[in-house]
């Protein structure tokens, strides 16, 4: 066994550490499903812009019908640091709540299960969710502590538990943050699904996912829930450098939206100056959605018009898009 291979196997096995994509052999890239996927890049220079109109435009461009559906908004609420921008901005959640209610959803809830912190409502307070989002306490579920039910055959496990709020939703809206990530290269709409795994069963952090493999878990979660998902990625101000917590703010001035989360993440990566074909989890998910530019119908802005290279830590320099 080579040192590199041994390191890869070992790294896949421990803590929040331990499944660096650089240590894994890149999987062969699938051609993806038939057809093309629409991804909307909508420019929004600040959180005080009219985000409702912009989201409505993006949803129209992607042809999403939410009438009568039970919608779960899943923001990225991880940690709070006033000096940077770790979480999906409250303004994006406020806008999404109004948009999905206006489009005729039967109900709109918000749910999140942070991976490190126990006091979710305190985090929501710090991130100004409770102050900004109307009726937040009434419609919010801490997915770490929700009642759970088992699903069979998840990621090679005979049973895996998920919150009933997630299982009961007809549409899960991944309200992700555009950030670099020290284990996955970037964290976007697909990685955001880590927050639906309940800490009450799997712990803080959800170490089981690290053992299954970070990329493998991202793909498994999206294989499970991707068919009832929609993505709105908050790239108005993203995070570059040592993300997902300790990086620095990086304005990209966009919302990226779509029904094909693989295509959304591939588009976000290109906006960030990252080559999606070099990202292990996207290569592994290529049978679920589209990575190739030729298979993505770009709506709204072009990638070239909004691309802004996000700084990458040394371990991920080779992900840079040419």
């Amino acid at each position: 066994m080579t040192r590199r291979k041994f390191a890869g196997l070992s790294a896949a096995a421990v803590v929040g550490t331990y499944a660096g994509i650089k240590l894994q052999r890149p999987p062969k890239l699938s051609d993806g499903p038939a057809g093309k996927s629409a991804v909307a890049i909508i420019r929004a220079r600040s959180y005080s812009d009219d985000l409702v109109s912009r989201m409505l435009q993006g949803i129209r461009e992607c042809g999403l019908d939410v009438r009568g559906k039970r919608v779960l908004l899943k923001p990225n609420l991880v940690e709070f640091d006033a000096a940077t921008v770790v979480n999906t901005d409250a303004a994006v959640i406020v806008a999404a709540l109004e948009v999905f209610e206006r489009l005729g959803a039967r109900e709109v809830k918000i749910g999140e299960g942070p991976g490190h912190r126990r006091d979710t409502l305190d985090l929501a307070d710090d991130a100004r969710y409770r102050a900004s989002v109307p009726k937040f306490d009434r419609i919010f579920t801490d997915l770490n502590r929700d009642d759970v039910s088992p699903l069979p055959n998840f990621a090679g496990e005979s049973e895996f538990y998920f919150p009933n709020t997630v299982l009961g939703a007809d549409l899960i809206v991944s309200l992700a943050k555009m950030k670099t990530h020290h284990w996955a290269g970037a964290t976007l709409s697909m990685k955001n699904f880590f927050g639906v795994v309940p800490g009450s069963v799997y712990g803080w952090p959800k170490n089981k996912l690290h053992y299954l493999g970070i990329s493998e878990s991202i793909v498994a979660l999206n294989r499970q829930f991707g068919s009832k998902a929609f993505a709105i990625v908050d790239g108005i101000i993203g995070m570059e450098g040592n993300g997902p917590i300790q990086g620095t703010p990086k304005p990209a001035g966009v919302l990226v939206m779509g029904r094909d989360l693989v295509a959304v993440d591939a588009t976000c990566a290109r906006v960030m100056g990252i080559d999606p074909e070099k990202m292990t989890y996207l290569r592994m998910a290529a049978d679920l959605g589209h990575i190739h530019t030729g298979r993505i119908e770009q709506r709204g802005e072009t990638i070239a018009s909004v691309r802004t290279n996000f700084a990458l830590i040394d371990q991920y320099k080779d992900l840079r898009l040419a």
Partner: protein, 262 residues
């Protein structure tokens, strides 16, 4: 149940709750976290603590202790120790110590290790086994080795790719709870960090765990100005009640016994 222990008017409810919890015990001695989940997890430590508080020391409780003694964080296994020796993993963890995971087969983290230390220290006098003593010492070493550069603890990973990660108030409280009985001089800095966290954190849950930990270390903690427990969140209300000056925080100590407050 710990929060209500010793209240005469709660005895019937506590007996029913204890019966329910015992129905969640598996044949291997571990406890399930709820009726829906089939696997035994770290919550077994809470069950052992509760059994000790209730004065229960039968064969099924002993099987739970044995289960805890068999559980070891997976990072302590040989491949990871070799990888760590050669610096092939991107963290600076000392993997030579045996802690406890959230679930079997996963790595050790602060909270399950701290709660298991509480449980084992409570039953140590009944077992007097070298295994218990060894695991307690090892668990304490693991907690100490995972301390963040800012003096507190986070979930249990203080550094990644040479970037120091910050500590959290709630896990700092839990770590100190697990370290009861260590030399207080050795912990003086950490206790100061805990006091600072308690003064600054807005989190009611973190504040409550810090109060429990500080009181268990014999520290004077001013009674909070805000209402001691007013939350509709049962878990939060229970932890707040435990951390109150007249609460059952002592039950987390090795000496906290069957009686409790009345």
């Amino acid at each position: 149940m710990l929060a209500l222990h010793g209240r005469r008017e709660s005895e019937g409810d506590l007996d029913r709750a204890w019966k329910l919890l015992r129905s969640w015990q598996l044949a291997d001695g571990s406890f399930r976290p709820s009726g829906e989940v089939k696997d035994g997890t770290w919550v077994t430590a809470h069950a052992v603590t509760l059994a000790s508080v209730r004065g229960v020391n039968d064969a099924s409780v002993r099987s739970s202790v044995d289960w805890l003694l068999r559980e070891v964080g997976a990072e302590h296994e040989v491949p990871m120790r070799v990888a760590s020796f050669f610096h092939w993993i991107p963290t600076k963890l000392d993997v030579s110590h045996e802690g406890w995971p959230w679930r079997s087969g996963n790595a050790s983290w602060i909270e399950p290790t701290a709660q298991t230390l509480v449980a084992l220290k409570k039953v140590a006098s009944q077992y007097r086994s070298a295994d218990v003593e060894h695991r307690v010492r090892e668990g304490e070493k693991l907690v100490l080795s995972r301390r963040c550069s800012d003096g507190g603890w986070n979930c249990g990973n203080p550094n990644v790719y040479n970037f120091d990660l910050p500590s959290y108030p709630e896990t700092t409280g839990l770590a100190l709870l697990g370290l009861q009985g260590r030399n207080e001089q050795e912990l003086a800095g950490a206790l100061e960090v805990a006091r600072q966290f308690r003064a600054e954190t807005k989190s009611s849950l973190a504040k409550a765990w810090l109060q429990i930990a500080l009181r268990c270390h014999g520290q004077q903690v001013e009674t909070p100005a805000e209402k001691a427990w007013g939350s509709s969140d049962i878990m939060l209300a229970a932890v707040q009640a435990l951390g109150h000056p007249e609460g059952n925080y002592r039950l987390f100590g090795a000496g906290g016994g069957v009686g409790g407050r009345t």
